[in-house]
């Protein structure tokens, strides 16, 4: 997996906390940057892509084994 610009460790947090952490941090990064969210709550696999769709950010990929999710700031 290619290296992200920043990693946000949300392991051990229950949803919606990982999504809230993502929503707080991503706008602080430059457009084009990739944020990796480490989140082991099963709901993150559903809710992080859904958040990206609702907020027009790019869901790059999921790393199911980590488990981790890469999000690129597009706007």
């Amino acid at each position: 997996m290619s290296e992200p610009d920043e990693v946000l460790d949300c392991r051990g947090q229950r949803c919606p906390l990982p999504v809230i952490a993502l929503a707080r941090r991503l706008p602080e990064l430059p457009v084009g940057a990739v944020l990796r969210v480490l989140a082991d709550d099963p709901a993150a696999a559903v809710d992080i892509p859904a958040w990206c769709r609702m907020r027009n950010q790019q869901f790059v990929t999921a790393h199911p084994d980590a488990p981790a999710y890469d999000i690129r700031r597009t706007t």
Binding site: C15, P16, V19, I20, P42, A43, A45, V46, P49, A50
Partner: protein, 385 residues
């Protein structure tokens, strides 16, 4: 301090309040229908008459033959029997069970049992609105070795009505019997055609809990997965809870007679909830098909809100609703239905209406919801994210 108004029950999709006809029939049958209908004395003959009449009434309501319909100890038992009996009856043809990804957990649990016993299960995806992928379904049922197919008639979590006639046609072309879980259809909308096995649950239509329906059409190769006795055409063992069955059948007939009028009354209230929630609650995703949907059920998810906290906050104001959010489930997993649709799963609320729901109830819910959500977001410090 907040003084709560009268409670507003909005979880009919889990259990509808007891229909007055059911209460009346239940009380009468407790006096009159306690004997074992399988025996030969006077009290038993009376019980047998009540059971036969209940079966005849339920069969007439569903437009099936009385000997095709069995009463089961629950909707869950009926679903287990439908799935496992379907794959057992066709085990010489194949071992694959095709099912939608959004079946009720009872169907998925039966599918797990089938897989544990050496069979295979083929889940078919749905789109973002929760509608079955018909092309994938048609390909799945046409594959070699398919014993049985299961499709929920309409999603119990998001209300999207499934394309049962088209799915049934694909099954017919492939020679695969189709099981339809009709728990949310019965006494709400007309039943679709084309199925071989159908199940329902009495407490969804205002009957008492503890009664399911299992219908197996003539000519279907279905074999009971349970140890078999002489009860209920050998489809489900043990003496039925006759007073509850009598109440279930009586309320089914009453609810079905009112179904069209109730759908006409409730569907605009559901539409109102969809429109007003989307307009008045910021950052909300109203899920399920906007048009092709059940008349009594609506679901939405509120961004950044904890589903359990939302349920408790609504409960404190007197609103009983359900949620597919992971924090509200014993397994701490999000609803498999929301997951299959790819929609937001946290902050999820399912509202389902029933014959006692009034326009004023819905208005009060709509008036209070935006403030409840705003308060929770303020407490969590997520306002403006």
């Amino acid at each position: 301090m907040f003084v709560s108004a009268s409670p507003v029950y909005l979880d009919a999709a889990a259990a509808a309040p007891l229909h007055p006809v059911a209460r009346q029939a239940l009380l009468a049958a407790l006096d009159d229908g306690w004997a074992d209908p399988g025996k030969l004395y006077t009290q038993a003959r009376r019980a047998r008459q009540l059971l036969d009449a209940a079966r005849e009434a339920a069969a007439q309501t569903l437009d099936v033959r009385a000997d095709e319909l069995s009463f089961t100890p629950s909707g869950t038992t009926a679903a287990h029997a439908a799935v496992l009996g379907g794959v057992t009856g066709r085990r010489r043809v194949g071992t694959a069970l095709v099912h939608s990804a959004i079946e009720h957990s009872a169907v998925l649990h039966a599918a797990e049992r089938h897989v544990a016993a050496g069979g295979t299960a083929v889940p078919v995806p749905v789109d973002r609105s929760g509608r079955l992928d018909l092309a994938a379904w048609s390909a799945a049922v046409a594959a070699p070795g398919v014993a049985f197919a299961a499709l929920i008639g309409a999603s119990h979590e998001v209300g999207t009505v499934q394309p049962v006639p088209a799915a049934a046609a694909a099954c017919a072309d492939a020679g695969v019997p189709l099981y339809v879980d009709a728990a949310q259809l019965i006494a709400r909308v007309p039943l679709p055609a084309g199925w071989s096995v159908l199940t329902a649950s009495a407490h969804k239509w205002g009957g008492p809990p503890g009664v399911g329906l299992l219908v197996v059409r003539k000519g279907t190769r279905w074999e009971s997965p349970f140890p078999t006795d002489e009860r209920e055409s050998g489809r489900t063992p043990g003496v039925v809870n006759l007073p509850a069955v009598v109440a279930a059948a009586a309320s089914l007939r009453a609810a079905a007679a009112d179904a069209a009028a109730e759908a006409t009354r409730l569907a605009p209230l559901v539409d109102r909830i969809r429109v007003r929630v989307a307009a008045e609650v910021p950052d909300v995703e109203v899920v399920g098909d906007p048009v092709d949907r059940l008349p009594h059920l609506v679901t939405f998810s509120c961004l950044y809100v904890d589903g359990e906290a939302l349920l408790h906050a609504l409960d404190r104001r007197g609103f009983a609703v359900s949620s597919g959010s992971s924090c509200t489930s014993s397994t701490l997993r999000p609803s498999h239905v929301l997951e299959a649709m790819g929609v937001l799963s946290h902050g999820n609320v399912r509202v389902s209406l029933h014959r006692e729901t009034t326009e004023a109830d819905v208005e009060r819910f709509l008036a209070e919801l935006p403030g409840v959500v705003a308060d929770l977001r303020a407490q969590a410090g997520v306002t403006g994210l």
